[in-house]
């Protein structure tokens, strides 16, 4: 890929006393992509994010963000949604949003205009003059995300943006994220919801115990973990098909089957054979690509 690099981390290491939280990580985040950081709790995701944001300094290695070491000007082009959520409680929503945006270099009047616009977008206009602690948790979380993008950054780093949100708010937040990305922004996000990674993310980095386990485009990784097998639903004697080594029946064996293929066979040949066979009907045909969830669990189990 000939893309611009938004974040470049080279051999970064972070120790907390005797504990190595991040162990020799090297990765790049391309400009304009949604990049997932995965890993079990305590694997080093948040520490890595904090190092990218210069909250923590790596003990070894180097990180370039938006073209160089993170300086004040670059900080203004980054938005951060920490995992541990928090807002000023006793302050009016609009006032707080404006303050946080001005700290990122947005002029006051502009910050106010944008805050009102995004509040309207989130259907929270009527809360602009209310105090933060009068809002529900979901509303607060949406406002936090709004604060993250209010200064129109080039890069946002969001740590588990969907945790604790109901499905409706999750959808609203997802729309905002994708909108941000469509506008050319780069997203680094961590999440435990693998289906969201499959749906939203271009590439991923999976960390376990501070070390890199998986790294690359989401599709490639899923294919790498794919079985040489296909999933079919329909009727017929699957075992008779050429190229099929073994049939594994699922769902009481009546409709869905997992067809393990011989090494030389390809899914296309099998599909052609099925359509050619008059005594077979087919309702579903897909590659047996595991979900990221399965991959995640497998990787963690392997390194236990």
């Amino acid at each position: 890929m000939s893309q611009q690099v938004a974040i470049q981390a080279e051999h970064i290491v972070k120790n907390y006393g005797d504990f190595r939280a991040v162990d020799d990580l090297t990765f790049e985040v391309y400009a304009g992509e949604v990049f997932a950081m995965l890993g079990p709790n305590g694997s080093g995701k948040t520490t890595t994010m904090r190092m990218i944001l210069d909250i923590l300094k790596p003990d070894a290695g180097r990180i370039a963000v938006l073209g160089g070491p993170l300086n004040d000007a670059a900080k203004d082009r980054i938005g951060y949604l920490p995992e541990e959520r928090g807002l000023y409680r006793n302050v009016r929503v609009l006032e707080m949003m404006v303050y946080l945006a001005t700290l990122k270099g947005v002029p006051r009047a502009e910050a106010e205009r944008r805050s009102l616009a995004i509040l309207e977008r989130l259907e929270l206009s009527e809360y602009a003059r209310k105090k933060v602690n009068e809002l529900s948790k979901g509303m607060q979380q949406k406002i936090q995300f709004a604060v993250t993008v209010l200064h129109q950054p080039d890069l946002i780093i969001v740590d588990e943006p969907f945790s604790g949100l109901d499905p409706v708010n999750t959808l609203a937040l997802k729309d905002l994220l994708m909108e941000f990305r469509a506008g050319g922004g780069t997203v680094v996000m961590s999440t435990h919801q693998m289906w969201q990674v499959e749906e939203m993310c271009d590439r991923l980095l999976m960390i376990h115990r501070g070390r890199q386990q998986l790294y690359g485009p989401v599709d490639d990784i899923r294919k790498r973990y794919a079985l040489h097998a296909i999933i079919v639903e329909g009727q017929g004697d699957w075992a008779k098909l050429p190229g099929v080594q073994r049939v594994e029946l699922t769902e009481n064996g009546r409709r869905r089957a997992l067809l393990h293929l011989q090494d030389a066979a390809t899914p296309d040949e099998v599909l052609a054979a099925i359509t050619a066979a008059p005594d077979m009907t087919i309702e579903r045909f897909e590659l047996a690509v595991p979900s990221l969830n399965d991959i995640f669990i497998r990787v963690v189990e392997e390194h236990r």
């Binding site: 907390y16 006393g17 305590g42 300094k57 951060y80 959520r85 303050y99 700290l103």
Partner: protein, 418 residues
């Protein structure tokens, strides 16, 4: 610098509207004024009561008031009666408000018995005293004028070097005014630096700190807070000074305030001391706020600091006894007690210049050192959660080169355990 000012602006405006601040600004002076007013209302009420009681009879069984010398202020007050019975009848008829009996052995015992339906006001005792002193003094062949016998001391206090001259009537003000100023000053520095600590603790427990530190550096954050809240403290002092000036202007009519001018020298030193000690307190509390984990914990530290801060009040009797004694000088030089001690002593006597200068110098050095150390601890402590700090970590953070000061954080503990 721009971001520092943004933080300062926010801290100023936010805390300006806090009820606690509004109470400190307006409530405290109001409270003091009310107390003051009540004290003087009671005092002047007891003076006026001599008129209320009406005429006062006297029965002279001792035979010394045959030719009484009536005190000039109370020339109509006293009425002679020949016997206790007649005086009693007059009292019952309410033609007099009280009467007194000088028993035959008065000259030996000094005993005077008064009879009345109500108590005897303080002023009446004074009047009786004047009557007896005046009349008795005729028996002494004295050359001294009568008024000197009655009022031998009319005190004028000249406080050397300060140029302030106070007459007897406003001696209470000499003592009260610096006390009140010192108290207000302590409140101003204490309240605003306390806001700083609670603000940091709130941002930390709210985790909004993580967002803040990706926008501003810890030093910009601490600097902005110190500036903004310092401006708030100055606002507070300005309001009080204006109120004091108005009070003194209005108070020229009241005898105890007459002739007192606003002590400019004290006012200027007050501001200098305020500036330095505010910086000391604020950066100290900022550092503590960054390190401690909870509001509760921070309050414990706040109370320790305010005890240190208020120590001079406990030594007030020692200052009164010997304003230039060892305790007074020592407390003037120790950084935490120096501002209050110096201000209290300046009110009572003149403090040698070398002491003021030395105390300011020590305070300045301490303030710079504490601010420097706090700035380092601040960065290190900001993102530590859930762990009680121990002193070793803290000292390490101070010693470490800037920028590497995050050291071993509980983030490690948190992530490691999970």
């Amino acid at each position: 610098m721009y971001k520092t000012l943004l933080v300062a602006r926010r801290e100023y405006l936010f805390n300006l509207r806090r009820p606690a601040f509004l109470f400190a600004v307006f409530g405290v002076p109001l409270f003091i004024c009310v107390i003051w007013f009540i004290i003087f209302a009671v005092m002047s009420a007891s003076e006026a009561n001599v008129d209320k009681i009406g005429a006062v009879g006297y029965v002279d069984e001792a035979g010394i008031l045959a030719n009484p010398l009536l005190p000039p202020d109370y020339s109509d007050l006293f009425v002679a009666f020949d016997s206790s019975e007649m005086a009693r009848q007059a009292l019952e008829a309410r033609t007099i408000g009280a009467y007194m009996v000088l028993p035959p052995d008065y000259l030996k015992t000094g005993q005077v018995i008064t009879y009345s339906y109500t108590g005897i006001p303080e002023a009446l005792k004074d009047a009786i005293g004047e009557l007896l002193t005046g009349t008795l003094s005729r028996r002494v062949a004295a050359q001294a004028p009568l008024e000197r016998i009655l009022d031998p001391v009319n005190l004028t206090v000249r406080v050397m070097d300060s140029g302030r001259v106070l007459t007897e009537a406003n001696i209470p003000a000499l003592f009260m005014l610096p006390m009140i100023f010192a108290l207000l000053f302590v409140i101003a520095a204490g309240v605003t630096s306390g806001f700083l600590m609670s603000g940091v603790v709130e941002e930390k427990t709210n985790r909004i700190m993580e967002i803040l530190v990706t926008s501003v550096t810890p030093i910009q954050l601490l600097g902005g807070k110190i500036l903004g809240l310092g401006a708030l403290g100055l606002t507070q002092i300005a309001v009080w000074m204006v109120a004091a000036l108005v009070l003194l202007q209005v108070g020229q009519a009241a005898p105890f305030l007459a002739g007192i001018t606003f002590p400019t020298d004290v006012a200027i030193l007050l501001l200098v001391y305020f500036g330095l000690s505010y910086f000391l307190l604020a950066s100290l509390q900022g550092g503590i706020g960054a390190v401690v984990g909870s509001e509760q914990e921070s309050r414990q530290f706040a109370s320790i600091i305010s005890i240190l801060w208020m120590t001079p009040f406990f030594f007030l009797p020692a200052f009164l006894e010997d304003p230039n004694g060892v305790i007074a000088v020592a407390l003037t030089l120790i950084p935490f007690s120096s501002p209050l001690t110096a201000l209290l002593r300046m009110g009572m006597s003149s403090v040698p210049n070398w002491q003021i200068l030395l105390s300011l110098a020590i305070l300045f050095v301490t303030t710079v050192a504490v601010t420097w150390a706090s700035a380092r601890v601040f960065r290190w402590g900001l993102l530590r959660y859930g762990k009680r700090f121990d002193l070793r970590d803290l000292l390490q953070a101070v010693r470490q080169p800037a920028g590497r000061a995050e050291g071993v954080t509980p983030v490690a503990a948190k992530e490691g355990v999970r």
